[in-house]
Symmetry: C2
């Protein structure tokens, strides 16, 4: 069943169980979707308000972009489950003869790459979502600025959760050049994304404690 069609209880139950999926990969993608939804809430609380009329068109665009990103996160949560079974099956392939060994290695390599590209895409979507949350934190309704802060933490979890599955899979790849290239790409996103997330969150916290404290 598609992730979004499950009740939260059902998802939590299978996540808690020893079933291999959903696991950290699916939970990371779901965190990204929750963070995107919070960004949409902020956009929806901004649109239609006189005070924010000047940025309304821009906010509408950000709302649309978040809708697409949220959908991508859910698609990737499902995809994360799909790539698991063929990869697990690879480990059970025979490797007695040299032909069997060569075949197993090739299929394994293909499946490891497929399993790495899913969390890489989760990370890319998280980077996009963070940039939108930054704009919403600057221009969106001040009433909802705390929701930007929570959204940022959720998307950051998507980023820092997904990178683990990148490292697990690239660690087993034979093509070290490709593996290092993917690790480098992921590492750069972690560095840039964490810094951006911290910057947005700290700004929100500053505003909250200044405004009201």
């Amino acid at each position: 069943m598609a992730v979004e069609q499950q009740t939260i209880q059902e998802f939590l139950d299978t996540l808690s169980s020893k079933a291999p999926v959903p696991g950290g990969g699916g939970a990371s993608a779901l965190a990204g979707a929750l963070g995107s939804a919070l960004g949409q809430m902020v956009a929806n609380l901004t649109i239609g308000k006189k005070r924010y009329q000047e940025v309304e068109e821009e906010i509408k665009l950000l709302l649309e972009q978040l809708e697409a990103i949220k959908g991508e996160f859910l698609r990737l949560a499902a995809k994360d489950e799909e790539v698991f079974a063929p990869l697990a099956a690879c480990y059970r392939l025979p490797s007695q003869t040299s032909e069997e060994k060569a075949y197993k290695e090739q299929v394994m390599e293909e499946n490891l790459l497929a399993a790495t590209l899913v969390p890489i895409q989760v990370m890319e979507k998280a980077m996009e979502a963070l940039k939108i949350l930054k704009a919403l934190g600057e221009k969106g309704s001040r009433m909802a600025v705390s929701d930007v802060g929570v959204g940022v933490q959720l998307v950051r979890t998507g980023l820092l959760g997904a990178v683990m599955n990148v490292y697990i899979n690239t660690g087993s790849m034979k093509n070290r050049e490709k593996a290092e290239e993917l690790n480098h790409r992921a590492g750069r996103m972690v560095k840039e994304g964490s810094a951006l997330a911290d910057e947005i969150y700290d700004q929100v916290l500053k505003e909250l404690t200044r405004q009201k404290g």
Copy 2:
């Protein structure tokens, strides 16, 4: 409807909308529940394995504790919605006469305190969950160590998301002594919890890149 009985799609839809609840508070509590569930997955993958027989009784206890904490996070997500309506209603109370003003101030103060105690409890549960995840990261199945890492990020989001609602509500409280006491309690949990989360996550990352990189 209880949070956990909704489908993920339903929850994401209302979260995205301009409806005030669920918002950042409910999403923070849900992040805590997801992180606790991942901890349970790690425990379930450890129990029954010969290699971890020595710690099995301890892990079973951690599993039970996480089940209770996960339930508390869900209860607090619902509670977060419950305390919103009476607080919002307070702002609409009349404040013409001095009696009306005094009554409004008193009711407001009570409701602000109730609305602050929910995220404070979310933070307390997050602190408990982080300590359990630390133990699971040290003693649980090495196969599932990345799930500890993702779980930690989710629970950290519960902590850093919930604190925003503490500051928003204490910022409006008239009793500044009580407000500062609550802010201090929350600030200490943020500091200790973030440090603990970073420590566990970095340890997991180190193991993943050493093991396989």
